[in-house]
Symmetry: C2
Subunit: 395 residues, 2 copies
């Protein structure tokens, strides 16, 4: 019989998707180039040519079996080693291939990491503002997502609130730095304080508390900002990575879980993940994509456009009187709306063909998100609309 | 905390994997070409050149965004339509793209189909002999797999036993034709009788009973054998397909769920599957592979070698006195062992460097499986070893 739980989910449409569909429809009327669509986090930078060359080379030179044969259920050994080496070189870690579990993007990485270190009924804490899909990623495993309200000063962590919520039922925390939607990057002080608190609570509760670190924006960090590598601060860390943003490959579904070599059962995490796969139909990301990303190492697309766009928007928003924390990375900015009801605010913006996403679903009411992974020329063209919107409604 | 359920699973190693590892180790001693490794169902036929050409062409001609951008969560629209058209042409169905949900291989297809039409606690019936991973695919959703014992006469369906087990708690049946491990193909009579029984039980219990049809071997059918298309016989059918065997692409994880246009909520199945994806981290198969398989349509590799191998083995096994049902398709054969304990039988075969898989894990004790997706030359070289094994142990 059709599962009613999933069928019901069809009725609750994602706000971001709805806005994106509105933008497409409006584009049909006035030309999509005239819709200032800040709704979707779809990378605008081309895939690096080197990646395409590597793919073509693999197709031309490898035998069918080598290239398209079954990947071992823990991932292709040479791929795992290359990823480990690249992380060690960049972040001074000491991963081996054994600690790396290739996945279908960050969604796949989180699906495995969450099941690996929680069981149904456990609590998982997340810091607001947070990516709304985490609700599904966590709650559909049987664990319960609990939201720690935001530090709206700088979008770091409100430790008082966090400690209040860090009960004995909590077996994992999910963080995301650089952050979607705020663009904030957790600084060293935040990560040290977080680690201290988690170590203290582990001792108090006499059980492990894992830190699941969602890092798809790790490579998009702006000038003068340090983005410390989370695993260096806390042993029980599982890094969840995706190449979607760094290589502009969101459709190819490729990422990994990297288990800190100092975490509990570090040598087993990858094998445990491969057992989890049997239940969720994952069975490794595509072989050719595994081989290609391992080959290009730490290569990224030409990501500097995101910083250019951020600077233009930050300057304009500040000039218009918005309260806004300057993003340290990603391609998002998260200003405070000019009225309490962010949904009403964003609805008014639609009249100016500005597609802004209200913040309710990010767990922090009263703000809005702009995803500025669009052409700089369009960002510039959107400024008069932004000004007009503010002047006609909030002056 | 590390999830103990998954950690424990590491101790229960798959027999097939263990045998395959033994074969690799033995290969290190005597040369892998001298190990008659019939353990793994890894396609031996090369990927068709046309597929490689299509991949290279996509990489050379499509823009990054078109090729590697996010796929909609229900799959790429043009891909869905092409798959529907190809199925309609071959099997006289009337699918639209709406009925097709692209997945990461058959494992992904089954993970979605099972969750779509069952809920935790429901019973799912499977006919022995069956692919042992079904235990994990089903039980890890929370539903319970129940095994209907084999019709060892012809590996069709023992309907008396099936009806006995078809209780009110059963909401889905999982079948696999052409079958792994028996190589049997369900004939029209079997499918008609199955449909009649399911229709009768649906009326009796006043709820839907879905037929989940796992069809990765659909394209490997031998001369003179008819392989009827399951969905034509029963409305509530979800076909789960994989290109792994037909295009020799098991590593690329590409397949689909095709919902019979006459099944309950047919127009919603694909959308419901996309909701299920949010909980299991699937988020569509890789875009480039979706586009490539849709482009090559019903193309397959040069699959005739499997029939050649089957004929050689069937003739030899029969001559040696084995009880064996002649396979109608796949690259498996499933003879009765020459002693009651199939594991003991297969252990003795190892002394002759013959890697055979005992049948206990397939739910039908006393048999063994040979996966003859290997070079014909090697099949021929294995015959003296097979003869010697039988003569020295069972004459």
């Amino acid at each position: 019989m059709i599962n009613e739980q999933y069928k019901k989910m069809l009725e609750e449409k994602s706000v971001i998707r709805q806005l994106s569909e509105f933008a497409t429809a409006r584009g049909g009327q006035i030309g999509y180039e005239n819709v200032f669509d800040y709704s979707l986090g779809n990378p605008s930078v081309p895939v690096p040519e080197k990646f395409t060359e590597v793919m073509i080379d693999l197709l031309k030179t490898k035998s069918s079996m080598e290239l398209h044969g079954y990947s071992p259920s823990v991932g292709i050994s040479s791929v795992k080693s290359k990823i480990a080496d690249s992380l060690n070189e960049r972040f001074g870690m000491n991963y081996t291939g054994n600690h790396i579990f290739p996945t279908t993007g960050a969604a796949g990485a989180l699906a495995h990491a969450l099941r690996c270190v929680t069981k149904p009924g456990d609590e998982v804490l997340v810091i607001a503002p947070y990516f709304p899909e985490y609700n599904f990623y966590v709650n559909m495993t049987g664990a319960k997502l609990k939201v720690v309200s935001a530090d709206t000063e700088g979008f770091q962590i409100n430790f008082e609130k966090l400690e209040e919520m860090l009960s004995e039922e909590v077996t994992a925390m999910l963080i995301n730095t650089p952050n979607n939607p705020s663009g904030a990057v957790y600084n060293e002080r935040t990560l040290r304080e977080l680690a201290d608190l988690l170590y203290r609570k582990q001792r108090e509760y006499r059980h492990d508390i894992f830190l699941i670190s969602d890092e798809p924006y790790r490579e998009i960090v702006f000038e003068g900002v340090e983005a410390p590598y989370v695993s260096k601060y806390y042993d029980n860390t599982l890094s969840c990575y995706s190449y979607s943003k760094s290589l502009s490959l969101p459709g190819e579904r490729i990422g990994y879980v990297a288990a800190n070599p100092r975490c509990r059962d570090a040598e087993l995490i990858s094998a445990i993940c491969s057992q989890i796969s049997r239940g969720i139909g994952h069975n490794c990301p595509p072989s050719i994509i595994q081989l290609a990303v391992a080959e290009v190492g730490a290569l990224t697309g030409e990501l500097s456009v995101y910083e250019t766009n951020m600077n233009i928007l930050y300057k304009e928003l500040t000039a218009l009187g918005f309260e806004v924390v300057k993003p340290g990375g990603t391609f998002y900015i998260f200003p405070k709306a000019l009225e309490e009801d962010a949904t009403a605010f964003c609805r008014k913006a639609l009249n100016y063909d500005l597609i802004l996403v209200p913040s309710e679903s990010f767990g922090t009411p009263g703000y809005f998100r702009m995803a500025y992974c669009i052409d700089t020329e369009k960002v510039e063209r959107s400024l008069p609309a932004l000004r007009k919107f503010v002047e006609e409604n909030y002056r």
